[in-house]
Symmetry: D2
Subunit: 357 residues, 4 copies
C-alpha cells in the first residue's frame, strides 16, 4: 500500500507534521556510487519557499542516509533515508480539526479509517512526495550510468500553453517552464490566482531519452500502465497521456501510425511505447494537475458530525502545485524506468547466458 | 506480469492463434452464485463480427469454466475459464512473418524477446481481452450483490463528441454510443474510415455508481492509480482522465473544488475520488483509444533484418477499437473495484471486530 | 494464494474431480526449447497406479500446452498447461459428503469457506500436485541449460532409514529409494501398512548440485526460507530441514562450522546455504511427510452438523505419499531455483552492465 | 526482498554498525491502541547483555515511533520505528575486513554483491532481528485484542531436552527455558560451550493459542508454509517442524490422525493446521537453531583474494542463539498470524456482507 515497484522498490512513511518522513529503497544493485550531493540537489528542487510562486512555508528537507551504503557505494541492502520535520510551525489546528476541507482527502480518510491526523493533511499531505524525490534520486543515479535522461517541466498553467518545449531551459526557471516565451504569462497566471486567494491547475510534460528498447512487461505491467500508475499516485494528478493520446483520437490511423525506417521511427505519436514496451524513441508523457484544493475563499463543507458550515482556510499553500510537481514526476519516472530495467533482465535466455555462464 | 489485482487477482494466457485463451481468477469469495449465462452475455458483447462497425472476423467466444465452482457456487478456489480458438481461418502469414507492422507491438516484442508469434499479433492481439471480459464478469457478479453498477460507452469518435451521456442507452447501440443524437454521426465517422481503408480513434466514458466510501489504498494503490493502471493496460489506450482532469487544468480552485453538503457533494469534478479513495459519488473516467494501428493503406516499415520496405496489410480489423473496447473498460473497472473492496477489508479494527469476535 | 514464485511464477487451478487441472507458468525466459516429452516424462513419474506401493487409481495425466510456445520454443509469454480429468470413476460420494475425514482438510475448508467440493478432496487433493510437476518440468528445462541438477528420493519409510544415499539409483526404484540395501525393508513397511488398512510416513532427501553461488535474496526471500515455504506447501509435508539442522543442534559450533579452503568447503553441514544465499556446495534438504491421512480403519469424527460418528473410509489411496511426493519435491525445488536465478539478476551493477551496455 | 507479509507487511533496514536500524510496518488496521511500553518490553527481552548466557555486548535498543500513530492510536498509515546504534564500540575490523568467517554469510554476500559491509556482520547480523521484534510487537498488540496468545521458549540446548513444556514459566527464565527441571542442565551446556570458546545449538518450541479457525490461504500461502518461511528467515534457523512432523514419520496413519469430537480434536499431532488452514487447536511448532557460527577457536578459511589462512575470531557473541532467538520466533509468529487474519477477510461472501451491507 505504501510501496511502489517490484524489484527496484521503495516504501515511504511519515506525516506532514509527525517526527519524520522517509523511505526505504530496496533492490538497488550493489556497486552503485551513491552521491549524496546529487540526492540533496533533487530534494532542494522540490523544497518549498524558493520563490513567490510557491508556498512561503520553509522546509529544510535535509536528507540523511541510514543504511545500505558503505564507503559511498550501495551494498545491495535496503537504503533508508529520512527527513526530520524540524522546522515546523507549532500551529493551532483547532479550526480544521473536525472539518473536511473541500477537494482534500479529509473526508475520505476519515470514513475509511475512522481516525485522521488532521495536522497539515497528515499522510495525504504533498510533503510525502519528498520521500519519493529521495528515492527517485537513487534511481536517477542508476539511470545516469546508462545515459538515460529523465526531464520534465511545465507545459501549461491555467489556459496558458507552452508552444516550444525546451527541457534544458526548465531547470533554470522558477516554475520549471519549458517555454521561455510563455513563462511570464504562466507566472502571471499563478500570481493572479494567488492574489485572488485562489489557485490554478497546470500540466507537466515528461521526456525520457535514451531508453533501452524492450522495457515493459506485458500484459499487466506495461511500461505505459506503470507510468500512469506512478503519476496518478502523485497528489493532485487526475489525468495522464502517453504521446499524443488525446489529440490522437481525432487523427486517422494513417496519420497516427509512426512509420519505421532503418534509423528509427519517423514520428513519435506513440510516445516511445508500443504494446506496452519501449521502442527506443523518447518517452513523452503529459501529466494533468488539478488546481490546488487549498484556497483562501469561503467554501461550503461539513464536519465530522455531519453538520454543514461555511469554511475559510488559513495558512500557506502553493497557488499551483504543478511546478514543484514536475520534480516529483521526474522522480517517479526514474523509479519506474529503474524497476523496468531490473524486471526486463531475464526476458530471454540470452540474458541468463550472460550472467550464469 | 500476466496477472492483475492483489486479492481479487486474475492471470491470463493465450495467443490469438494458439489453441486456447483463458484466465485463472483467484481470490473470488466463496459463496458467490456463478451465473454462466451472465458471463457468456458479457463475452458476447465483446465478440467481433456483430455489425458493420466491427471486424467481420467471427469468433465463437464460448466460455468454459474448469474449476472453482461447485453446484453453481464459488468455493473460494481458483476459477479457471477457457476459450478455444476453434473457428480460426488457416491463414497464410508469410507476408507479415518478418515485417514489423507500424504502430503494432511487433517491433518491441521482437527486440524484447528475440522471438515472436507473428500469427495475428500473438500475445499482443486484442483477442487477449476476451479473458479479461470473462474475469470481469465474475467481478461484476460480486459487485451486483452490493448494488454497484459499472457502465460505459462511447463519448467520442474521431471529432464527433457526445453531448448527453445516457449510460442506459449504450447497451442497445451497435457502437455502445452514449448519446443517441450523435450516434449516427459517430457511426458515419467509423464507416468513412473503413471505406478509406483507414481507422479512427475514440473515447470511452466510464461511470461506476453506488461505490462504497473508502475504497483505495493510499499512497501507492490509490483507486485512481489502479484504475489508470488497468485502463492503460488495454490495447490501444494511451490516455486516461479521472473526473474533469483535463478541463480542470483551466479552472480555478474555487471552481474545481467540490463543495460538501450533508447529503453529498454539490459537484463531481473530482470524479468520485479524493486522495485516492472513493468518496461515494459516481466514479467517472474517460479512456482515450488511439486509431486502430491495422489499416489497409501502404505504409513504410522495416523487417527483422532491418531492411526497409513499403508494406500493405490485408485482413479484417475493427476500423475503430473504442466501441468493443468499452466492454473491456467495464470488465477492468469491475475487477479493480472488486479488488479494492477486498483490500479495504481490514482498514480499521472495526472490520476485524465484525469478523473475529 | 494459488501462485508461487516472483519472477518465474506459476499459478495452478483445478479440483480432483472437476473438468481439468492445470497451471499458467509466467516469466519463463524466451528462447528456451520446450521439450514436451521431457515434461510428460516428469508427469509419468508422479502419476499413480504404477506399482503395488501406490494407489491403484489410474490417471492418464496427459499434459497439453495451450500457449506461450511457438515452434517448440518459449516466447516469453505465459505457458498454460492443462490435464483433463477424463478417466475418473463416477463414484458415489454420499458417505463423505457431510463428514470431515480425520487429518484431512475437510474440516478447515468447510469452516473457512462455508462450502466444500467433497469429491475426492476437491482442491486439497494431492492431484493438484500434478500441475506443480508440469510447471516444475519447465523450470527443470531451464536449469538443464546451466548444468544444475535437481535430484531426490526416499531416505526413510516409517522407521527404516537409508544409510547410503544414491541419487542416481532412485529413478529406477519403484519407491524412488535412495539406498538399494534398505529398499526392500522400506517397501515391506509400505505393504504391511497397506495390508493393515493403514498408512506410514516417510522422508524425502533432496540434492541440488552445481548451483551458482549467490542465489537467495536476504533478508526475507532467503533461499532456505523459500525452499521451506515451497516444500511445506506440498500435501502431507509437516517438517523441513536444511543440511544437518536437526542433528546439528547437538553439535558444537566448532563441529558444525564448515571450514573453507581454496577449492571449496571442507564439509557441508550448512546444506549449501549461508545467510540465506547459496554457497556453491550441494543444497541438501530433508522433507518429512506424515502418514497418509486416508486409512481404511474405523475412526471417530463429526459431520457438518457437528454430530459425532464412527467413520470408515473406502476408496483407493497411497499407503505412503512420500515416494510420489519426491517427484513433487523435485518440481518445487526446480521452481524455487529458477525463480531465484531470475531474482538474482540485477543484484549488482556488473549484471546491468552486461545487459544494458 | 526486505519485506515480509502481504497485508500486514513490514520492511526492515539497517546494518549492525550503521547509523540506525528500523522498520516500516504497513497495513496495521486503524484504531489500534499502540502501547509503546509494551513494544519496548519486547525489545528488552531480545536485547543482549542481560545475563552470562548472552553476549556481553550491550545495546540500548530504545525504539522510537516516527509515524502512523496519532494520539496513541494507529491511523492506518505506515508505522515507522527506528533504533539508533548509539552505543557501538569503535572497534578495529582490520582482521576480518577481507576474511570470510566460517559458517557466516561473509562468503555468500561477497560473491553475490561484490561488496560487503564487514563491520559486525553488516546486514546479515542478528541485530537486524531487533526490527522484527518491534514489528512483531505491533502485531502482538493486534492479536491481544482477540485473545490470541503467542508463546515460546527453549525446549532443547545441545543434547539436553525439556520434558515438560511450561510456556508460562519461560518468561521468568534467563534462557527462556520451558522446563524448570532441565533449565540448569541447559544453562550449564551453554556455559560449558562458552568456557571452551565454543558454541551450541538449541531448539525453540512455539505455541499459539486461541487461533481462529480458517487462517491460511491454500495452496501456496498455507499457514504452515508461511510460518516455515518466517522462521527459516531467522538467523541460524535451519529446520522447522509443525506438530509432530518428525516423530510422526515413524507413526502409522491410525496413530497420527487426530480424531474429531464435538468439542474439538482428541489429539494434536497436526499442530493445529490441516490442509494449510488453522483448525482451532493450538499451533505448535519447533524451530531448530544451529550452534552460533562465531566461536573463538582457530578455524580454516580463505580471504577475498582466495588465499587460505588460519583464523581466530575475537569479540563478544552469544554462545547459543536459541534463547534470544525465541523472542524473534514470537515476533515472526505474531506477524504471520496478523497477516493471515487480514488475508482471510474476504474468504467468503458472508465477510463482505458484514462490512459492505
Amino acid at each position: 500500500m505504501n510501496s511502489f515497484g517490484q524489484k527496484f522498490r521503495f516504501t515511504t512513511f511519515g506525516e506532514s507534521h509527525g517526527i519524520a518522513l522517509g523511505c526505504i529503497v530496496d533492490g538497488v544493485p550493489a556497486g552503485l556510487k551513491i552521491d549524496l550531493d546529487f540526492i540533496q540537489a533533487q530534494m532542494d528542487k522540490r523544497k518549498p519557499g524558493k520563490s513567490e510562486f510557491e508556498t512561503k512555508r520553509s522546509e529544510a528537507d535535509t536528507i540523511e542516509i541510514q543504511s545500505g551504503v558503505f564507503e559511498g557505494v550501495s551494498t545491495g541492502t535496503p537504503i533508508s533515508m529520512v527527513l526530520y520535520n524540524k522546522n515546523q510551525k507549532s500551529r493551532d489546528y483547532t479550526n480544521i480539526k473536525d472539518v473536511f476541507r473541500p477537494a482534500h482527502a479529509d473526508f475520505t480518510y476519515f470514513y475509511k479509517y475512522g481516525i485522521r491526523d488532521y495536522r497539515g493533511g497528515g499522510r495525504s499531505s504533498a510533503r510525502e512526495t519528498s520521500a519519493r524525490v529521495a528515492s527517485g534520486a537513487i534511481a536517477q543515479l542508476m539511470l545516469n550510468q546508462f545515459g538515460i535522461k529523465v526531464q520534465s517541466g511545465i507545459s501549461q498553467i491555467h489556459t496558458i500553453k507552452s508552444k516550444n518545449l525546451d527541457f534544458d531551459y526548465a531547470p533554470s526557471s522558477a516554475i520549471f517552464a519549458l517555454d521561455k516565451e510563455m513563462e511570464d504569462a504562466q507566472k502571471n497566471a499563478i500570481l493572479e490566482a494567488k492574489n485572488n486567494h485562489d489557485s490554478v491547475g497546470g500540466v507537466v510534460t515528461l521526456k525520457i531519452s535514451n531508453v533501452p528498447v524492450g522495457l515493459g512487461e506485458p500484459i499487466y505491467d506495461k511500461l505505459d500502465a506503470k507510468l500512469a500508475d506512478a503519476m496518478m499516485s502523485i497528489n493532485a494528478v487526475k489525468g495522464v497521456e502517453i504521446g499524443d493520446a488525446i489529440d490522437g483520437v481525432e487523427l486517422m490511423g494513417s496519420q497516427n501510425n509512426d512509420q519505421i525506417r532503418k534509423d528509427g521511427f519517423t514520428t513519435n505519436h506513440s510516445g516511445g511505447i508500443l504494446g506496452g514496451i519501449s521502442n527506443g524513441e523518447d518517452i513523452v508523457m503529459k501529466i494533468y494537475f488539478k488546481p490546488t484544493p487549498s484556497i483562501f475563499k469561503e467554501q461550503q463543507t461539513i464536519d465530522i458530525y455531519n453538520e454543514e458550515l461555511d469554511f475559510k482556510l488559513h495558512g500557506r499553500h502553493d497557488p499551483c502545485v504543478a511546478p514543484r510537481g514536475s520534480v516529483v514526476v521526474n522522480a517517479m519516472a526514474s523509479l519506474v524506468i529503474a524497476d523496468m530495467m531490473l524486471l526486463n533482465m531475464g526476458a530471454k535466455m540470452e540474458h541468463l547466458n550472460k550472467i550464469y555462464t
